[in-house]
Amino acid sequence: MAFYEQPIHPKPTTFLSKYMISFDHKVIGKQFLWYGIFFLFVGGLMALMIRWTLAFPGVPFPVIGKALFPETGGVIPPDTYAMLFTMHGTIMIFYAITPILIGAFGNFCIPLMIGARDMAFPLLNMLSFWLAVVSGVILLGSLFTPLGAAAGGWTSYPTLSTLVGSPGTGQTLWSLAIFILGASSTMGAINYITTIITLRAPGMGYFDMPLTIWGLWLTAILNAIFLPVLGAGVLLLIFDRVFGTTFFLAGAAATSGSGDPVLFQHVFWIFGHPEVYILILPAWGIVSDLLAFFSRKPAFGAKATALSMTTITILSTLVYGHHMFTTQMSPLLTQTFMTLTMTISIPSAIFFANWLGTLWKGSIRFTSPMLFSLGVVFVFGLGGLTGLYLGTVTTDLYLHDTYFVVGHFHYTMAASVLLGGFAAIYFWMPKMFGMMLSEFWAKVHFWITMVGLNGVFFGMMMVGYAGMHRRLYNPFVYEFMQNMIPMNKMITYSAYLMGAAQLIFVVNFVHAIFFKKEKASDNPWEVGTLEWTIPSPAPHYNFDKIPVVKCGPHELGNPNLTTGRDFQYQTENLVEA
């Protein structure tokens, strides 16, 4: 039976075509990975500077403080502090998580796991990466403008983000960088959606796709629909700043007719809420697969998990107003958003139950990808439940803009995605680079990260509950926060511990790629999805012959297997009783 297969291109030979201007999705994936890891460290350093200021106000920042801030003798000044938390948020969300989970693993895994030789549009793919680089350069460049980078929070609410509140070019460059990155991500989204729909290997129905692909597909759909909304909002902000339009100006500044700052909030959160699901869906998919692989049994209720993720994708578009309860929208609108927000619990609970069902009566191997996946189950369970406080209006009126929110979203977004991302790196390392990372150091990395992470973010929820609000340079001018100094110190110590743990990862990673001699086998984890049917690292054409899929992605532990393996490749017929 004839089916479409992409041609096999000759192997690239020059340095430029192999590593820089490559059309190969695997190379582009690795480019995004390096890009994301670089920005993860920039954003992480900023976080450590923020934590330093909160724990030790008035004390110069160690090592690089005096060089960066000579006028204050090394102490971080308040306007720099505002820049730090703004850029920390922006970098982590758009320049670290998106490139690593969606750019790197999306690009790398999708064609391999569905049995294709490359993405549907390789040129578009390459352009997507280089556009992201342009965006990154603009963003980092904004740090060196005379008045500094954007400093109005990553949410850049007007009128603070208009010329009234942020007179320098930093905020304009920030807006431009975000717009360009949005263009880059939507180009990626077009590619992912088209590739998954049209290039699945023969025999691979939608429910034969690994859940990783489900996560990436749903993410791409949300990206395609909602990034343009952010694009429009940010574009109008740029017009306000550069061409003097009055979309978001109000109050004393609006000398020539009034705009509506709250409209920006609506537009931002119409994008913003789906965005947080965009960030977590790949991790959900990856964890769903890894839990099955390392319990050596099929994912419990895999179809239900896929459908739950789809339901959450749809529901996420309807709930954005819970970010805006304190702006006093009409009571009816407020109530509607509260009720709709609550409905997301149902599909979340379903696939969470499925995760636990996967572990139940499995035969669990505690490899590093598994440890990180179990970590995700823990932190997402905790983080997700704390969302309930923020979904009910009355408790939100107290908790809005406090550290409780910060703790909540770091648990669900940062902790879960970080742990999921590390699980993915440890898991796909052999396929990407041809060798395994040291399991011992991976486990050390895991445990120290978990301790640090929980210390930081649970601590934040505690101080938030005690009333400490956000984006404060020196919280202790307030009487009611004097008690929280010790807890803030504890959060900072945990943050530094967590930061130090990442160095273990870096050393492990760099050592493996550049210095390790021992090559990995084709299928070191002994699982049956399509990428493990080809050599490690994957050859440039992926598949010599396009595979024909005969069974699902989690065929493990079938009692009727006679081959001596406890799993089946997706290309093998399902062994029946």
């Binding site: 479409y4 909602f226 343009p228 694009g231 574009l235 109008l236 061409f243 007719g257 409209l263 537009v267």
Partner: protein
């Protein structure tokens, strides 16, 4: 049994159509957000148009509408004939001509507004007019580049690539519909 060539071209068609649908949804959402903003501003304003507005020029936008309509018509004409293998040069050239004329008419619109003292920062309504038309023209420029991209296809020896024509045309017509909506909601009512 289908030949490999048939399978391949069917794949191309499917992949391109899906990608084009995603692209149109994307740009649709961008413009939808702008229209949402416009609706909010207009519905919550106490007086509309905002005080101090002189009457908007209606002739130039009407001319723009006719120009873009003609451009779409000739492109549709070119597309229908191309799909059955007939490479007609004239409709494509005419379509590009009217497209460029549309962009020129937008510049005329802007200078007319400025001569009436209506600048981007004058009030919220002028902000909307300028912002919308700037964004629309930006997309039109991309679309015109798309039309130029079709020019090599009309050479006598060129291979038949109906997908490319169909997709560029979809984008072109999409922008025409957006303009129609803009014309109606901003200038007419």
């Amino acid at each position: 049994m289908r030949t490999q060539a048939e399978v391949n071209s069917q794949y191309m068609l499917q992949a391109n159509s899906i990608a084009m649908v995603v692209v149109l949804i994307m740009f649709g959402m961008l413009f939808a957000t702008l229209f949402l903003g416009y609706a909010v501003y207009r519905l919550t304003a106490q007086v509309w148009p905002p005080s101090g507005m002189t009457a908007l020029p209606l002739l130039i936008p009407a001319v723009s509408t006719i120009l873009i309509g003609l451009s779409s018509f000739f492109l549709w004409n070119f597309e229908t004939q191309y799909k059955v293998g007939a490479k007609q040069r004239l409709p494509l050239f005419t379509s590009i001509f009217f497209g460029l004329a549309f962009i020129a008419s937008q510049f005329v619109l802007w200078s007319t507004l400025k001569s009436q003292g209506l600048f981007a920062g004058s009030n919220i309504f002028t902000s909307i007019i300028y912002a919308f038309t700037w964004i629309h023209v930006g997309h039109m420029v991309m679309a015109v580049i798309g039309l130029f991209y079709l020019l090599p296809l009309i050479a006598d020896k060129a291979e038949l690539k109906p997908n490319r024509v169909i997709n560029v045309a979809k984008f072109w017509h999409f922008l025409g519909i957006v303009w129609l909506l803009m014309f109606f909601t901003i200038f007419v009512i």
